[in-house]
Amino acid sequence: MTAALKLTDLSKTFYLGGTLFGGPTGSVKAVHPITLTVEHGDTLGIVGESGCGKSTLARMLVGLLNPTTGQIEIEGAALDNADPADFGKRIQYVFQDPISSLNPRKTIRQIMEAPLKRLHGMDKPERNKRIAEIFASVNLREEFLDRYPHEFSGGQAQRIGIARALAANARILILDEPVSALDVSIQAQVLNLLADLKSEFDLTYLFISHDLAVVEAVSDRIAVLYFGSVVEIGPAKDIFRAPRHPYTKLLADSAPVVGRALKAPEAKDTELPDPLNPPPGCSFAARCAYASERCRTEVPSLSESNGKTSVACFHPLGND
């Protein structure tokens, strides 16, 4: 059986200051070469703070952005050209902001019909049947179909967004912060719905979020992104319980947890490195308590180190 999703050296560089005649004056490496595999039926959680490149990565995976280098392989088939329509049948995207991802001037029916018509060329009765099936799966009433997006609450709109992604019949869904715009009591409803849909339609998820607890609750494996690179990847149950990269540990210690005393886990008030001027070695070195001379000059690569978790660090934690 082939993996659902396989990335090989996928990277993205944005060029800045391009003018009418002159070339670019600078560049930002938003995503450093990433190689990873998502097994069929798995949920891979991707966590990282703002600016770590998680949205850029997600947009490349669905073909909304052209990768600078590397290859995306979906269910064994390589997709080289960024053509969303080509990707659309295999991999779909659920957006963070449920309201702004629905065109305010289209009815829900028009929105739902677009992928069925354009990607699968279904005729009218077929489309109606399929929409009815999907709406039943996401617990939405069919009478909603003739309303406009502004008439829905955030939770309902997000269900519609999920329904649209399912309509394309893709087997892989990229969930980009799907619940962070929702209220906590609604979050749980949507997360449970996603879990049900996964088993019903045999889906593979890539779940992107900044909320560690949410990611831990839904994922089988988790990848931690820092400054455009995967710094640690491993089974969800281990990654925050026994972090091996100092950055993962910092994240885990920073999350507010009931019953843990308040302390700033970081003594220094540090900021992310400047993306226009990246440091030569490990990008976390300046914030890291364990940084050595080697960390400041050489970039560590992601290597298997104890069979389960891979970490990109010269001095991983928990080895001794």
């Binding site: 909304l64 990707f87 779909q92 305010p104 967004g161 906590v184 607890a213 947890v257 970081e266 992310l272």
Partner: protein, 627 residues
């Protein structure tokens, strides 16, 4: 559409303009069937007849042609040419604008620089050049006027398109397999059309005027064909001797352009969503107060005390009870958490303290807010203004929205101090640096000359906190100050707030939806649901033994780090809308412990020791929880 017409009709001037314009259009439409003289037949014997003379109501011109007939036929032509030019210009301009804005990059650059070049010429010069190249004639004048107005539409529409092309629904359409052409036609265009209509309605009068201008110069309609401009042009030589020949077409131009402009303004106001939402109506300096009931007597609990506070929003004929009787207090050095979901009234409660709820539509309709015993509800604006920042300061969620983008952060800090006491430039600078150091900003002396956009979210929030500390307040009200921040930054900010309250004896009211944050920072916590407090007490005790079913379920549905992959216990249903609150408990519909008595009458906040709960069938008996 109905709403649009209603809004339009409310604007008296626009309505008048619309009626006049409709009259003119009606007259012009029935011109062919009116018993009028032939407009082009000359009769030099009858030249320059005055208005109201026999056989010619408006008189005749220098060739003895009937002015009324010429006026109506001319108006028809001018209006047709004006509308045609507007439609051509709007279509071309919008197409160019949408293409430039949608594709962006080099396409955009090339197209827009071309448009810029077109705009660099004075419009009349450009129109003259076009007519000179194509030769005089009404059709060529139309082409010239349309061409001259294309850049206006192109630039306008491009700006709007750029904003829409980056919206998520456009990405979603791409993923649904829509081609670029289809995205432009079905996703972008419907969202741009209102803007095109607005731009057209405000420029069409101008285009009629421009067409008349070209005809006046003899470059538009050719004799004997009449349009308003050529009528004026021909009458010019007799301006002194027979002014009526100029006045007739002149007045008609005035009427048309005036009515179109008035109507256009009305259309713009009715269609513009910003104007519809009342962005132009300025809120009052302090929230309106309309207290019916008696003011509760002071009890002397805490530095800040809210007693049965009620704040409502009056929108048209609906009343939203955002805060429905909230009583709270906070002591010096204490941190009180208010936890709740969006719409639970936690932010409105906080803003009511200093009269910061926008009025209209906000109204404080009952209760009291006491600072050190003094009732602030209904206090004069002067007093409130004096206290804002000096006694009670706020920290908001999004520091990028609360800091002014055009001033350096140092200047904004100094301004915050100056609002309460005069301070010299040097001393101000020193104090600003001190404040930034107090919030542990690295490199404070250098950072005071940064603009807000040059800082990261965490650093901006530090500036926000420094600003709140600027006048040494006793109370800080922090409304979700870390929600927009990354976890590592959140941890730093929370640790700093905790430090500040211990070192300065600050009272903090901390609004959040995150139990983890409450657990780490707050001494006491109040849980709000649908505008009321449903549970209150010491944080540790509530987290240990929650009594209200809502608190219990809210805690259960939020995943906690370290619990692993699992199914979450969702709360079914949605919170109620606060303009239609049910009788009895607002949570009843979502509650699994609900019984018949939950749905009737007022349920009081029952208090035992330091715990309080508003529930008839609590999860843990209050007595037990309070021990």
């Amino acid at each position: 559409m109905k709403v649009f017409l209603k809004l339009l009709a409310r604007n008296r001037l626009a309505l008048a303009g619309g009626i006049v314009l409709m009259l003119v259009v009606f007259l012009v439409l029935i011109t062919p069937i009116l018993p009028l003289a032939d407009p082009d037949v000359t009769n030099t014997a009858n030249r320059f007849k005055l208005p109201f003379s026999e056989g010619a109501i408006l008189g005749t011109d220098h060739l003895g042609r009937d002015l009324l007939s010429r006026l109506l036929w001319g108006t028809q032509l001018s209006l047709a040419v004006g509308f045609a030019a507007a439609i051509v210009a709007a279509t071309l301009g919008a197409t160019i604008g949408i293409i430039a804005g949608y594709y962006g990059g080099r396409t955009d650059n090339v197209i827009m620089r071309g448009v810029d070049m077109l705009m660099a010429f004075p419009y009349i010069l450009l129109a003259l050049a076009i007519v000179a190249a194509l030769g005089p004639g009404l059709f060529n004048a139309l082409v010239a006027v349309a061409a001259v107005n294309v850049p206006f539409f192109a630039r306008n529409i491009r700006g709007i398109t750029v904003g829409i092309a980056h919206k998520e629904f456009v990405d979603a359409a791409r993923l649904a397999g829509l081609s670029d052409t289809r995205i432009i036609l079905t996703e972008i265009l419907p969202n741009v059309i209102p803007v095109i209509v607005i731009a057209m309605s405000t420029t069409i009068g101008w285009m009629i005027l421009e067409t008349a201008g070209l005809s006046f110069l003899g470059l538009g309609s050719q004799p004997p064909q009449a349009d308003l401009g050529s009528m004026l042009g021909e009458a010019r030589s007799a301006l002194i001797t027979n002014p009526h020949t100029s006045i007739v077409p002149g007045v008609m131009i005035l009427i048309i352009v005036m009515s179109i402009n008035l109507l256009g303004d009305g259309v713009r106001d009715a269609l513009d969503p910003r104007l519809k939402s009342g962005a132009l109506s300025r809120p009052m300096a302090a929230t309106m107060v309309k207290r019916d009931g008696p003011v509760p007597a002071a009890t002397g609990d805490g530095l800040l005390e809210l007693q049965n506070l009620q704040t409502q929003f009056h929108v048209k004929d609906r009343v939203y009870r955002a805060v429905g009787g909230v009583s709270l207090h906070v002591k010096r050095g204490e941190c009180l958490g208010i936890i709740g979901e969006s719409g639970s009234g936690k932010s409105v409660t906080a803003l009511s303290v200093m009269g910061l709820v926008a009025s209209p539509p906000g109204v404080i309709s009952g209760g009291a807010v006491r600072y050190d015993g003094e009732d602030l509800i209904g206090a004069p604006y002067r007093r409130l203004r004096d206290m804002r920042g000096k006694n009670v300061a706020y920290i908001f969620q999004d520091p990028l929205a609360t800091l002014h983008p055009l001033y350096r952060v140092g200047e904004q800090l100094i301004e915050a101090i100056r609002a309460h006491r005069p301070i010299g430039k040097e001393e101000g600078q020193k104090k600003a640096i001190e404040l930034l150091e107090a919030v542990r900003m690295p490199n404070a002396a250098k950072r005071i000359s940064d603009y807000p956009h040059e800082m990261s979210g965490g650093m901006r929030q530090r500036v926000g906190i420094a600003m709140a500390l600027a006048n040494d307040p006793d109370i800080i009200i922090a409304d979700e100050p870390t929600t927009a921040l990354d976890v590592t930054v959140q941890a730093q900010i929370l640790a700093m707030l905790d430090d500040l309250r211990r070192s300065r004896g600050l009272a903090i009211v901390f609004i959040t939806h995150d139990f983890g944050v409450v657990a780490q920072l707050c001494d006491r916590v109040a849980v709000m649901y649908a505008g009321r407090i449903v549970e209150e007490g010491p944080t540790a005790s509530i987290l240990d033994k929650p009594t209200h079913p809502y608190t219990t379920r809210l805690m259960a549905c939020v995943p906690q780090l370290g619990e692993g992959k699992r199914r979450l216990e969702a709360i079914p249903g949605l919170p109620p809308v606060v303009d239609k609150l049910p009788d009895g408990c607002a949570f009843a519909d979502r509650c699994e412990r609900v019984q018949a008595d939950c749905r009737t009458g007022e349920i009081a906040l029952e208090r035992k020791g330091d715990r309080a709960v508003r529930c008839l069938h609590p999860v843990t008996p209050l007595q037990e929880a309070a021990e």
